[in-house]
Symmetry: C2
Subunit: 522 residues, 2 copies
Amino acid sequence: MNLALTWGMKKRYLLGGLLPVLAAGLLAATSPATVLTKVRQYRQRHEHELLADYTQLLAIPNVAADTAGQRRTARTIADMMRHRGIGQVQLLPAATPGVAPAVYGEVRVPDATRTLVFYAHYDGQPVNPAQWAPGLSPFVPTLASGSLASGGKLLPQPAPGTPLNPDWRIYARGSSDDKAGVMAIISGYQALAQSGVKPTANLKFFFEGEEEAGSPHLGELLARHRDLLKADLWLICDGPVHQSGRKQVVFGARGDVNVALTVYGPRRPLHSGHYGNWAPNPAMALARLLGSMKDSTGRVTVAGFYDDVVPLTASEQSALARIPNIDDDIRRELGFARADGQGQSLSELINQPSLNINGMRSANVGPQAANVIPTTAEAVLDLRLVLGNDYQRQIAKVVRHIQRQGFFVTHAEPTDAERARYPHLVRVVPATGYNAQRTPMDLPLARQVVQAVQTTVAQPVVLLPTSGGSLPLYVFKEVLNTPTITVPVANYDNNQHAENENIRLGNLWDGLETMAAIMTMP
Amino acid sequence: MNLALTWGMKKRYLLGGLLPVLAAGLLAATSPATVLTKVRQYRQRHEHELLADYTQLLAIPNVAADTAGQRRTARTIADMMRHRGIGQVQLLPAATPGVAPAVYGEVRVPDATRTLVFYAHYDGQPVNPAQWAPGLSPFVPTLASGSLASGGKLLPQPAPGTPLNPDWRIYARGSSDDKAGVMAIISGYQALAQSGVKPTANLKFFFEGEEEAGSPHLGELLARHRDLLKADLWLICDGPVHQSGRKQVVFGARGDVNVALTVYGPRRPLHSGHYGNWAPNPAMALARLLGSMKDSTGRVTVAGFYDDVVPLTASEQSALARIPNIDDDIRRELGFARADGQGQSLSELINQPSLNINGMRSANVGPQAANVIPTTAEAVLDLRLVLGNDYQRQIAKVVRHIQRQGFFVTHAEPTDAERARYPHLVRVVPATGYNAQRTPMDLPLARQVVQAVQTTVAQPVVLLPTSGGSLPLYVFKEVLNTPTITVPVANYDNNQHAENENIRLGNLWDGLETMAAIMTMP
């Protein structure tokens, strides 16, 4: 079922148009348990409308290459905020022209002594529609009875009034990463406002449009709108909850940088019979190069790769020890026999820098494969960084490793003279990257956020010193000197960054409750 | 310029409709020098029409996946043969339904004591139009002032009557491999017939439609039409002339078999941050596997890979020594600093078995690259075989090598149990392959063919014991017990099997002369 095309947006469940200051001022302070009950009841009464709203948002393309789609996404979010009674809604431009704007809004609360900024990003990872499952298309939000990978089936449109099963999934690019963050935040606020519950802090909203591109203009945006964005804490809503299904609060994120490699072979593709054995094959050269970067246990063999890492503090180590170890369960579900990392747990390993091959390509495979010696072979590396790593230093280590394998490294298409001189040629093009960041777990506001999230669930909230995924948290620290705490909402098996991205409906609903709890924490 | 769309086929230069026996019987025997003069004059007077004919043929898709295009190609060739006065034109079906038919025709010559079959194939390698240069499309034949790789420019339609520069190129899939063979053969005959020159042998024509797919039904076709195909020699027109530009006669061809490899990672694509370091990356596993197959000089490290090779005879070694060594020139033109093979020449190396990576792919690179751990990584290997190698034995050696690298080898999608048990899983799917074949250089008919080709050029004809490329020559030997000799026509820099395939016009014209000389050899 194509949700976007068959459902209209139904706004009758929104009062809309209330002045935010007035709205907030009229509301009465409420206990966490009451907040939870009211938010949940509001959501249960309006889940069809919330789903229709979200479907409309997911149907708008949000990839970097589609500038018009990005703008439309931003404008739609701004409209949704206005309809929810959020004030000062505006698109914040960067100084650099052509940059996807951030969407901003705020709710002023009289007598509030602190200000929280809720952050999510509305852009999504690039898509290759051909790789999505039959019946799915990245920007045609589609409902399924569960994860398609575990036997879920595509669903027809649910009749109005029928309850929505929280285990259902919505398939679309950005459904988890990170329009789910946008939706949980603005609809969490909506549930409060419509239930007559008053936030306990001034709320600001900031939705970025370039996170998946490495947030190249986030620093510029924050600096330019420094006064508007003054706050005590940035609350980041991005990433998945713990694989056990338990909610988690994350105090940091790995840094990240991509590096594109292109190895060069003959100037034109050659017949593999007439020249095979003689003309060097760039795919083989790339395979040998990549193969030299890790040992058989997955440990990176690049010299100095694990240097510079700042050790975990005592409270971070203790939090790490309390994280449920469900590695074997995930491994079985993912269908592989042995994890990398010489027996260390997933939680331990994401506190180390990593090197991953995002993709690799030379000529063609499958029905398009031909008997050729390709002209080039490409790979994209993804380097994740932990506290202490510097992304440029990390790239330099990889470049030195490549040179030690006998490659001449260039940053441009090789010249004729370089081709004539160097038997092994590789073009190395690093993307924009950023470093890791960690907020101390002992910070009073951090403890309050953990408590607020804990009021919404019975099971202990998982505390993660560092997320395996990356967010440009260092920018908030560097530019605004404001701490960040990340509270994710998506299911862990959401296929984010890949084909068949999805969100479990129950995770979206839980997200509303989590965000509302933080907005009303004592 | 789009030749196919702007030019009609002009058949007025063909008499057409002559009974072939009558036509052949009326013609008078002629000296090689006179034949050459007449064929050249005929071509010079009709080159615009010949080009229009060829353009029409090139505009028809001829890839295996396009059954309708293949049938249309076969029917068009049959029509072109009939218009040239060739008799008994028919499509020869295989016993297996759905197989692309061979196109057959013949010219009976009274008193001829021998019969030659002229072979070419009309199917082409798969195409990925996106990889072709701007302005080119595989089935929109397009003229250029020279090789685009060396600064050639696309050309407007030449005005009728203006001479065609022999250095011009036609860009299209199959332009060299191997519709050029079809065109050289039927138009070589046409030039003879229209110039009143009588062939000295009975001529048969056999144009295959599955060569690029590994000729899986050629044996079946030959066996089924054994009586029709009786002959003293198969004359194979396929492949390029020598890189020096000199014509060559080739006495054998390497065998060939492709092997597709798929290495498995997690069952669904994972976020490279949340799981990188822990979930095994199939691209890395494939890179390590492929990298283990060759050493840094390009020598294959698979155990026993170079065993079984039948040594060259004295005359083959002597022919090899006389081949002009222009390796440094080609290397410079192709833009790489060092060839594989520890200093052996290209001519020497194609007399050895080879292992080439045709293509390699895991997830995406470039703008579509995303931060994921891919689910699979694929490669296609191309194994070339020389006399003595058996393709199934050669595959078995590669499989044993893969197993020795710690992989469990399966031929199907891995089961859940296999995923749970084996840390390294690879699916190995060999395609249909065939072995190498060599015709002795001392065979009397072989010497006559060499002499005939030599009458058309001043420079010594290059004699090649084995072509680097492959042709299913073993089938002719095994099924019909008939020797084969290969006389190629295409320019060596034709990009056959790849994007931007092209033929140099002069090579097509030379091909007419070569084929006509063989048809009239004393």
